[in-house]
Amino acid sequence: MTGFFRTLRRQPAPLAGTFIALLLAAVVVTVTASLIGTAQTLSVPAQRLAATSVVITGNQKVAVTSDQDHHTSTDVVGLPAYRRLPISLARAAAAVPGVATAVPEVSIPLALQVAGGRVLSGSTAQPLTGYGWQSAPLTPFTIVSGHAPAASDQVVVGAGLARAAGLRPGDTVRLSGRDLPSFTVAGVAASPAGNPAQDQAVFFTNDEAAALYGHPGQADLIGVLARPDTSASVLAARIRDNPDFDGRTVLSGNRRGGAEDLAAAIDGFDLLQVAESAGFDVLLIALFVVAGTVSLSIAQRWRNIALMRAIGATPGQVRRMAMIELAILGGLAGLAGYLPGVWLASRAVRGMDAHQMLPATTHAWTNSWTSVWVVLITAGIGVVVAELAGLAAVRRASRLAPAAALAQANTQRRRPRLARLLAGLVMLAGGIALGVAALILPLSPSEQINLALVMLLALMTGVALLGTLLVAVAEGLLRQPVSVFSRAAGRLALADIRVRPQRTATAMVAIALAVMFTGAIYFIDATQNHAAVVEGGQRLTATAVVSAPGSGLGPAAVSAIAAEPGVGTAVGLTPTTVFVPYPGNDNTAAEAITGGSPAAVLNLKVSSGTLRGFGPGDIALSNIETGPTAVDTRVGQTLTAYLADGTPYRATVTAIYDRSLGFGDALIPAGAAGGGHLGSAAIGEVLVRPAPHTSLTALTQGLAPLAGRFPGLNVAGRGTVVNAQAELLTAQQSYGNNLLLGVIAALAGLALVNTLAMATVERRGSLRLLRRVGATTRQLLSMTWWQTVIVSAAGLVVGAAAAAATILVVTKTLTAAWTPTMSWTPVAIIAGTVIALTSVAIFTPTAWILAAHDEG
């Protein structure tokens, strides 16, 4: 212990470098732990249902059973749509002792067209929703102007919505995309202060709400208000004990919010996936960085270790000394990394809130009790990581004969040891094999991409293991050209690299890792986006697309459009979710088809089966869902999928298609399982193929009058839609990916600077010696410049090669071509940033060393 503080006081540079690397790792662990915790504890406070004591819903989970390879497994997953309840349950609830009121609630996603044609639909996190006026006490809403809806053509709007839309009693509104007459605003109702429910609620008469809801005798949930003398928990227990509510979910307290925002559970799951996969990537980089810096730190004190071994320190003592030092550093870094980690996690959560990737009320997971655990886990992981990296680094120093250790204090090994060489070659060969496997094995695109990322990791490990060999190769290749340009400084730089290859290798590997990760992630993302856009264009064969802003078009729109002159085929698409049975499948994005055959308006590149005559009892799946690790099925086989509200759907696989990027991975008829199980009956868009000899202009003109029936109805040509989809796709993917890329770039950049600064400080002795024998500042800086050039060039080339291999494999799997989506601006930014950081990290300590020497 005292040795640690002595070293800290008298030779702080290696410890500082190691501490910074461990601190980065600790921050990453904290951010990942906090995001995973946030995902797992994600709950939204009850807002619209704030006044309820208890909320009763159907079972919002479904057990999806899959039977593959004679192995049955069951996944329990959350449903994105309400599993409806009979409204008779409200009467049963009202009869429970202690219940004041039990209200069956229906909810209708909608958008309002107000004066001037403006359409209001709320936000993704808080979409406008219609309810029966009987739901008003559940918040509670109170009329602040006008009166409650008394006729089927009257609505009451929330006060926040009224302010945003400039609505007052007497104004008229229409439901966007619905073939319905206009409604008169009868009143404005406010929720209690601070409750944002008033920003998104629209109330109809109970009968009108039931009609719009479209499921007679059913409701989404039942809100229960308790009598003043009955507590919510007691009431919840009574309802649970009542056999009428067997199989239903009875929620009280904070859990009521989950019934109000079903997406929260899905968001939480998405966040969990992002945190786990991105956290893993970032953690891995952090581990590489820690391993590199710990190894460098041990190498910098090799002389001390060798001397101690010579005068009688046992290998165990040397290991223990290093282990104690690293345990202290790891623990301290863990503790120090906690607060920045929590801050970054909360920033990330806030960013995701702002981009509507999470419910607006989500906060990063920093519960005080669990925080203690996160601190301990972070510190513990810091210690373990440091110990493992240190053990590997110090093992050799402790095992080597002291004479050899003393000899190596002056010169380093110029080639990796045989075991390291073999391990490095195995990793490189493994990486290449994984790339080939990704290309030739019958895997789904997502599996191929995952394999390509594992390939990147294998290549990265290989590069790290073969660092000294790669440096030797680079030195050999650059010897001639460098000698041509610079006789003294360049040769000195090469000599330094030749004699201390491990130091150079650590620096080069840090550069290569930065380039490899940022390059691969950026360009894989760009290629994926581009592939999705291209595929979207190839997929859409309809001439025109009809849509309405907000919640889409009413179901009647498809037949209305189909009946218009000049329309050949009209097919409605409703985005929904299905649960295809295979182990580990959380959900499958799907499209539900209304109207004609999808084959007429979409070219999904069906590889097996056909979409002709697609209808009830059918399902089509993408090749992603039918890969070896997904559902084991073929065309003609039947399976039981589950619809968005948990209804089982026994269907025959009629087609398997390839073009699913930016589209659903399953296609079902809207009338699946009798219809009404998609979560929303609204049609997202209607794809139209004109009758023969009808132009787009004629078609658009023919459909335009329908806007009178369906407010907000918009007709767009294929080109416009493809471009809009491309923009949407980019916008949707950018925040999450930019966040991940930003974190990785920042981490790689910090690691790069830290490692290079450590490596440069180690050159203190040789710089001072050269200074003493008469080298001028200019010559020494020139030598440093050449070293920067050589290290940067080697790192950039090695990093770019590994990244390029991965990008090419991904490109080939996504586009069947070898040309990735390249643009030179990001290439220049990555290379320029790496060169700038490298220069700063090498020149600053060099200038400092020379200045300190001259002053001394």
Binding site: A306, M308, P315, Q317, P402
Partner: protein, 263 residues
Amino acid sequence: MVGLSTQRVLTRRGEPTFEGGPAAGRLESVSKHYGRRDGDALDGVSIAFPRATLTAVMGLSGSGKSTLLQCASGLDRPSRGRVWLGGEEITRMRRRRLALLRRRKVGFVFQELNLVPTLTVAENIALPLRLDGRPFDWDDIAGAAGQVGITPLLGRLPDRLSGGQQQRVAIARALITRPEVVFADEPTAALDPYTSEVVLDLLRRAVDELGQTVVVVTHNPMVAGYADQAVVLAHGRIAETRTAPDPAELGQILRRLGEAESR
């Protein structure tokens, strides 16, 4: 106490009987090679270091002197042959036992890389005791420092010491555990003649006053004046052996070897 006197203290013990008493260290037909392409750095060397004597191992650069010291002291293992140290055979001794033996029975003084730069002079001297987990008194450390004349330097870090001061710290560290054998590798190579004499005086007194065995590897013929026996190595083999060696004669031997080498 050894002061900074310029007067040489030559307290020969007369003609030692090398074949007689048990040696503190012994090499038997020891060879060492480092790589397949390199020749033998040591080639079948046999030599004994009798107790309480000072042996000078001499030779030109590259003759195998340092390799001999490393094999004899357990810093390295021979490729062939056997080595005894402190009454135990160390040829195939396990790393941990060998480290313990070095710590308890051997002291080292190197030409350079002698001191741990993050430790003060006092801490450097105490290091072998610390490593051995032995309780010690800082007065003992001060006493050892006093014996080599560096008491005022106890709180300094090595980078604030001259070469001669560093060597004296190394000698104090080598002697603090009262080791049976002290190995010194070119301890005077970087020192001026005056400081070299001081260092050699200290090593000689370790033999005469503490009964320790000292092996000094050097190309400096002056060391022979302090030695009880001298061994001259050439091309990894023993070329000459002298008891009660004469520095002038050894100087001539080395010169002759050098001339032969340059031819």
